[in-house]
């Protein structure tokens, strides 16, 4: 275990491509499932506000309620999904349940019509599906590759995921144009795409259900899952995940600040998220490989510094297109250096029979801290203004990086498990 995470380079036998080859078909299959599913879900995300307000005439109150459901309501479910996957040792089935639930939610949007309760139910089902599937999927990725190439595996998966997120809104706009602005056509297409994702999962993803070994014969109990927190290495990892969440403020803030700072024509606004996604998808796999070579903690820390630099730029004097390009690049770099890399760091630390629960725990910690930091940033913005709030966010990110370095440092090492 120690070898895998302290930066010892994997041996290269078949030239430079060998580590990439080890990533293997199962990770690619999981990546294809995520790509397809993200096309489907981003299609809906792109048109839902327009549908609710312009199509159904929902007032601000109802709209705000539905918008809020997108928030952190799924944390508990994520933990439950993680434990369910470990308990039944059916990670693929648990993930499949999550993917299936989200697919069904698309039909729910069609069926709900203008009923606010129906719409809220459909949106909640979609979020619940995402909560259920994320941890089992990441656990499967971790089980599918040798430890030395975990960074690459998560990098490749996240890059494919980002391609889906990138494509979804474009597909939605194309369908809207072809179907004469009929939202139901978008929801139906999204449903079909999601079904194809579930099919890909069923056909091409191999489960890692029954690994030989005496330890994995009995299903883990809830008490054991709780005892995960008793392990120092797990606690340190959870701490790092929370720090990561605290170091980031919502993407919406970043784009809004960019727009205000550069007087960007308002029509360009949606393209800011596209720019970040582009940087992310291009950088995720190379940074994953870099993490395998030089160590995952340094790459993670570099990610914090990238996001801190982005916030500083937002508070600084630079303006115009150079500011937009620099901030979007740094933002994409941050995601590429932290998202998959954190999972690659976590995987070997967690015992295999409780790995999904552990991954869910780490992801939940990060998500909760992120919600808190976004709320705090909003408050700071209103109280102290933009430059002070952005500088504060940058300082927080640097402090979080320092604390993470101590937590995951050589002595406290992530390889201790």
């Amino acid at each position: 275990m120690y070898l895998t995470t302290t930066g010892i380079r994997p041996r290269r036998r078949g030239g430079a491509a060998a580590p990439w080859r080890q990533v293997g078909g199962n990770v690619l299959a999981l990546g294809a499932v995520s790509l397809t599913t993200d096309v489907s879900s981003e299609m809906v995300t792109a048109v839902l506000p327009l549908y609710l307000v312009a199509g159904l005439h929902l007032g601000p109150a109802a709209y705000g309620l539905l918008d809020g459901l997108y928030g952190g309501a799924t944390v508990l479910l994520r933990l439950a999904g993680g434990y369910l996957a470990d308990r039944t040792r059916r990670r693929k089935a648990t993930a499949g349940l999550g993917y299936g639930l989200s697919a069904a939610a698309r039909l729910g949007l069609l069926a709900a019509g203008a009923s606010t309760a129906g719409l809220a139910l459909a949106v909640t089902a979609d979020r619940a599906g995402k909560g259920l599937r994320t941890a089992p999927r990441d656990a499967l990725i971790g089980l599918s590759v040798p430890p030395a190439v975990l960074g690459r595996a998560f990098g490749v998966h996240r890059a494919m995921d980002a391609v889906g997120a990138f494509t979804g809104p474009l597909v939605a706009l194309a369908v809207l144009a072809a179907a004469d602005q009929a939202f139901d056509a978008v929801f139906l297409t999204s449903f079909c795409v999601a079904c194809f994702g579930v099919l890909l999962l069923a056909l091409f993803v191999r489960d890692h259900r029954d690994r030989p070994g005496p330890r994995s014969t009995a299903a883990p109990r809830a008490r054991e899952a709780a005892a995960l927190l008793g392990r120092p290495a797990v606690r340190r990892l959870l701490g790092a995940a929370c720090l990561l969440g605290l170091a980031t403020v919502g993407d919406g803030f970043v784009y809004l600040l960019l727009q205000r700072r550069t007087a960007l024509a308002t029509g360009w606004f949606p393209l800011l998220a596209v720019g970040t996604a582009l940087a992310y998808l291009l950088l995720a796999a190379p940074l994953g490989a870099l993490a395998d070579r030089i160590g995952r903690t340094p790459v993670l820390l570099a990610g914090y510094l990238a996001v801190a630099a982005g916030y500083l730029l937002l508070a600084g004097p630079l303006g115009g297109p150079p500011l937009v390009l620099a901030v979007l690049l740094l933002h994409g770099l941050f995601y590429a250096a932290t998202d998959g890399v954190l999972m690659a760091l976590a995987t070997p630390v967690l015992p295999e029979r409780l790995r999904t629960t552990g991954l869910a725990l780490v992801q939940s910690g990060q998500a909760l801290a992120y919600l808190a930091s976004s709320a705090l940033f909003g408050l700071a913005w209103q109280t102290w203004g933009v430059p002070a709030a952005a500088t504060g966010a940058a300082v927080t990110a640097v402090l979080a990086a320092a604390a993470t370095a101590v937590l995951l440092g050589r002595r406290g090492g992530q390889g201790e498990a």
């Binding site: 312009a54 809020g68 602005q181 056509a185 803030f253 308002t266 606004f269 203004g385």
Partner: protein, 310 residues
């Protein structure tokens, strides 16, 4: 493996066929030339036809001429039309001449919500819901702008205007602009600190002045003396109400259903507004006297965004 690929390919083809079939069925035949006689100088009620999503004219006899122009919100006055629609990348504002020829388009960031034209046809305004920048505690926010089609001068975000000479508050949201006849004064809602205030704006001075509380989506009467607006009641529904600018006296209209719309004045005594259908998409346009008397009357079914023509 080959068998699984075969299964995947077959299902992919089937799903594609289902989607393509559905999309084709929803696509309407390409619109022909503009319906004959539909210009912004024709007498009648301009609306958005909620079945087709297109700009339409409801004539005095109730017959309807539908144009090829798709809009989410629209308004017109004195031969200038404005149409907020979903463009290829983002929402956009379209300014048209009286023959509905597109004179200018402007990209908008957000979901179209309100549109107005000044009585002379020169000033144009819009409001959009902005998503993704939930800096006010996960709530939606709005953004309003004004375009002077005479000079081309653009105020893209009214939050940059001052309030009585001071910077507007950081949590300010503005929506629902309505213009006075002089093409400089306007009224709008300014929301800040949980209050929704009626403000009078001065376009030339880029300044706002607070007049009253709990006034949303103002609409100035043609004679410039009264404001129709939606007043929030304790149960958070809205009552269509008229405010006299001289003494700030309020007169609730006879419409007791909750009206979430920026009303339009058909003349100095009559209001028109949209009410969404219950449980299904679409809306109807209703009318009610502005002095609190009478009862609401259905003016046009499957319609919204009313504007009196000419």
């Amino acid at each position: 493996m080959t068998r699984r690929i075969l299964v995947a390919a077959t299902v992919a083809l089937l799903l594609t066929a289902v989607c393509a079939g559905y999309i084709l069925a929803r696509a309407r035949p390409a619109a022909g030339p503009p319906a004959s006689g539909l210009t912004l100088r024709t007498a009648g009620l301009l609306v958005r036809d909620t079945q087709s999503g297109r700009l339409a004219l409801v004539r005095e006899d109730g017959s309807r001429a539908v144009s090829p122009l798709s809009c989410l919100r629209l308004y017109a006055a004195a031969g200038t039309g404005v149409c907020l629609r979903q463009g290829p990348v983002s929402a956009e504002l379209v300014v048209t001449d009286q023959a509905l020829k597109e004179l200018r388009t402007l990209p908008l960031n957000g979901v179209p919500n309100r549109a107005r034209v000044s009585p002379t046809g020169r000033m144009v305004s819009w409001t959009v819901f902005v998503t993704g920048d939930s800096y006010n505690g996960g709530q939606f926010s709005t953004r309003s702008g004004i375009l002077d089609t005479g000079t081309g001068e653009l105020a893209g975000n009214l939050e940059n205007f001052t309030v009585d000479g001071h910077h507007s508050p950081p949590d300010a949201n503005l929506w629902g602009v309505t213009f006075a006849a002089d093409d400089n004064r306007f009224y709008a809602t300014l929301a800040t600190g949980g209050q929704r205030l009626l403000v009078r704006g001065d376009f030339a001075r880029r300044d706002l002045h607070v007049l009253a509380e709990n006034v949303e989506c103002p609409s100035l009467s043609p004679d410039g003396t009264r404001i129709a607006y939606k007043k929030m009641l304790p149960d958070r529904s809205w009552r269509l109400t008229v405010l006299s600018l001289a003494d700030l006296a309020q007169t609730p209209s006879a419409e007791t259903r909750s009206v979430d719309d920026q009303a339009a004045w058909l003349d100095d005594g009559t209001l028109a507004y949209a009410l969404p259908h219950r449980g299904r998409a679409g809306a109807d346009v209703w009318t009610v006297p502005a002095d609190g008397s009478g009862t609401p009357r259905l003016l046009a079914a499957d319609a919204e965004s009313p504007a009196r023509l000419p």
